[in-house]
């Protein structure tokens, strides 16, 4: 099991658009990531992370998860691009200062597209869930 990897090792995004910071752990094709929402986050609206910010966190978490296997092999992580987002449900929008955790669960894969179920929560409860497709760069 991998633990506590800097997300920048797995995805190309950088501040201020970087919306996941640490891959806490990865096992098989599943992973858990973390992101502390700073006061100056570009997706904040009235002190809360916007829906777009929550989705971006889940998208970057899925892309980071998709890059794990090549990273393990010591290769440059394969890049993942979001292909589709479905069944997106928001429970609450987290506030600045909270730590957003995304749980990425592998469902299936075909023709270079990986399907994930993703849920996100903070220390104050569940935030969102969705099903997302990630294109793997060849």
């Amino acid at each position: 099991m991998l633990r506590d990897i800097d997300a920048r090792e797995l995805i190309p995004q950088r501040e201020p658009i970087l919306m996941t910071q640490t891959l806490y752990e990865a096992s098989g094709n599943d992973a858990r990531t973390g992101f502390v929402i700073s006061q100056d986050n570009m997706f904040l609206e009235d002190g809360h992370l916007s829906e777009m910010g929550v989705i971006e966190n889940m998208a970057q978490s899925a892309a980071a998860t998709a890059g794990i296997n090549t990273y393990i092999n010591g290769e440059k992580p394969v890049l993942g691009y979001i292909g589709e987002i479905k069944k997106c449900i928001f429970h609450r929008l987290p506030e600045a200062g909270e730590t957003l955790t995304a749980e990425v669960h592998y469902i299936s894969e075909a023709a270079g597209v990986v399907l994930y179920n993703i849920s996100s929560h903070t220390e104050n409860g569940p935030c969102a869930e969705c099903r997302m497709k990630v294109f793997l760069e060849k």
Partner: protein, 81 residues
């Protein structure tokens, strides 16, 4: 599960998921044309089959399958393995 039951269940769930008439799904029909599958939706079919029949299948294998008849045989083999 006998193969006739598998075929009936497969046709039912595919027709519902991809919003086609179940009559359009015939053994010799082309899967991608009938279900209007593209590079993004093929993985939906794989996930649906895995979930419906409680099996794991390789997406690469499924991408090579052309007709529903071939798909029935492929899944039937996995279900009864």
């Amino acid at each position: 599960m006998i193969k006739e039951e598998l075929i009936a269940k497969m046709n039912e769930v595919l027709a519902e998921e991809f919003e086609v008439e179940v009559e359009a799904i015939t053994p010799d029909a082309d899967i991608k044309k009938t279900l209007e599958l593209d590079s993004l939706s093929l993985v939906d079919m794989v996930a649906l089959i895995e979930d419906t029949f409680d099996i794991k299948i390789d997406g690469q294998d499924v991408s090579k399958i052309k007709t529903f008849s071939e798909l029935y045989d492929f899944v039937n083999e996995k279900v009864n393995a």
